[in-house]
């Protein structure tokens, strides 16, 4: 019995490592056909306007949820590493000096998934619980 319990615990631990664990409860999503290797640092560069084209080619189409959506604040804090107010200033500065456009806004997780699944160059974020087969997680 003891051996079975130990074995069962080991299985659960291994399963925990195999299953995706996302930052907080936010997941960065990409189109399933997008083969670029993405990590947090790359996502931060994209949303800071420093990376505009995918290594494989194609202009990055980065998306965001509305400012008043709690996931947006969490995305900025946990993935980009900056507050939402700081990022809004960065996006405004880039926009009003002609350097880069701010992320295109979509209304909800469902719309985010729809846009990302329809566009191979799109990248966005949703609640982890909203993830389904229409898109893939960018990183774990």
């Amino acid at each position: 019995m003891k051996k079975f319990a130990l074995f069962g615990s080991l299985i659960l631990v291994i399963a925990g490592f195999c299953n995706p664990v996302f930052a907080g409860d936010i997941v960065v999503i990409m189109n399933k056909a997008n083969s670029n290797a993405v990590d947090k640092g790359m996502v931060a560069k994209i949303y800071n306007g420093k990376l505009k084209n995918w290594p494989s080619g194609g202009a990055v189409a980065n998306l965001s949820l509305p400012d008043n959506n709690p996931e947006t604040g969490k995305f900025c804090d946990e993935i980009i590493g900056k507050s939402l107010s700081h990022m809004k200033l960065v996006w405004s500065q880039m926009m009003f000096s002609g350097q880069a456009l701010p992320p295109k806004q979509v209304a909800s997780d469902e719309e985010m998934k729809k846009v990302v699944s329809d566009n191979v160059d799109a990248i966005g974020y949703i609640k982890a619980s909203s993830l389904d087969d229409s898109v893939k997680a960018a990183f774990k």
């Binding site: 420093k50 202009a59 107010s85 700081h86 926009m95 009003f96 000096s97 002609g98 456009l101």
Partner: protein, 353 residues
């Protein structure tokens, strides 16, 4: 007052037209954003910025910024401006081409990359104070609006930080030049700016250099000899969620006259709505006469910003000035005839959409 109503109406109409343009623009694939401000300025002791002791509402601005993708690598950008003190015009418009993630080029009428503020000088919503530091004020003649030409930007990761190298060349876009009475015309310009984002989060340093060739005009006759006019700026900025600290030094040599200035500025966000700020500014329009009040200006400024809502804020600030170099440079006060100690009160409403 009727003049104010007329100007306000023009701006309101511009804003409404802009709002009405949005759905049309978006349908056409054009990204359209805008910003603006309306200031009240009161100058006590010396007239400045078109204001005197009675105050003036004649400082306002509306900018519409549009961008449309030409293809995956290039966009067309433009800013159309309207204000009560200037003709409506395109502040800048250029085509942007992304050669790679590191290298980007632009050609057209491009905002001159100088210091921390020049490209966003009209976007008060992006600045700490309502009135910009003296070195950026028009009368200081330290910065240009834009150039017609070509620019290149190159990004590189350096250790844990990041550098952006910017170079450009072309002709100065000088819409203020008076072909009848002007005594010099700025022509070719070239220069660059290096921005170093250090590994310390929020800390960056900038170095800006510019050489402009000018042609002296005497009695309506253009001198064949071209003279060089040189500008340099050193900038530092440290911005966190709560603090915004900035300092810049600028140096300008034009013919036999050297002007220079510096400022240090700090702001602290008490919460999401309130942000007090202070600045000390020094500027001399002629280093050889820097002890004369007509040619120097020392300013201590204190102000506070209140964010009313998303994209809307108000600011109130008081400028305590010693020396009146700026009113003399803007020809609102004659040299030797101004008040050494004088004040400037500025209140402003800012918005962005």
């Amino acid at each position: 007052m009727s003049g104010f109503i007329k100007r306000a109406s023009c701006l309101i109409m511009s804003g409404l037209c802009a709002a009405g343009l949005f759905s049309t623009a978006q349908a056409a694939g054009i990204e359209l954003h805008g910003y603006g401000y309306q200031d009240y300025v009161q100058a006590n002791g010396n007239a400045y910025l078109g204001a005197d002791g009675k105050g003036s509402w004649d400082n306002n601005f509306l900018g519409l910024v549009g961008a449309v993708s030409i293809n995956d690598k290039s966009k067309l950008w433009a800013q159309l401006q309207a204000s009560s003190t200037d003709q409506n015009r395109f502040t800048w418009f250029f085509v942007d081409y992304q050669f790679s993630n590191q290298l980007r080029g632009h050609v057209g009428r491009v905002k001159l990359p100088m210091g921390l503020y020049n490209e966003i000088i009209d976007a008060k919503n992006l600045q700490v104070s309502q009135l910009e530091p003296v070195m950026y004020q028009g009368a200081s003649d330290m910065v240009y609006d834009a150039y017609h030409g070509i620019g290149l930007d190159y990004d590189q990761d350096v250790g844990g930080g990041h550098m952006m190298w910017q170079v450009y060349g072309g002709n100065i876009y000088d819409y203020t030049f008076d072909p009848v009475n002007g005594d010099a015309q700025d022509r070719r310009t070239f220069g660059g700016r290096v921005t170093y984002d250090t590994p310390v989060d929020g800390l960056k340093f900038l170095l800006t250099l510019n050489r402009t060739q000018m042609q002296v005009i005497t009695g309506g006759v253009r001198d064949n000899a071209i003279k060089n006019e040189d500008r340099a700026m050193l900038s530092a900025s440290y911005v966190t969620d709560n603090y915004d600290l900035k300092a810049e030094y600028a140096h300008h040599k034009r013919l036999d006259v050297t002007s220079l200035g510096y400022y240090v500025q700090g702001a602290y966000s008490l919460n999401d709505s309130w942000k007090p700020y202070v600045r000390y500014d020094y500027f001399t329009t002629d280093k050889s006469q820097k002890s004369a009040p007509s040619f120097y200006q020392k300013t201590f400024m204190v102000g506070v910003e209140y964010k009313i809502g998303p994209g809307v804020s108000v600011r109130v600030e008081d400028h305590f000035n010693r020396g009146y170099a700026m009113p003399v440079a803007s020809e609102e006060v004659s040299a030797g005839a101004g008040k050494t100690n004088w004040g400037l009160f500025v209140a402003g409403l800012n918005f962005a959409f």
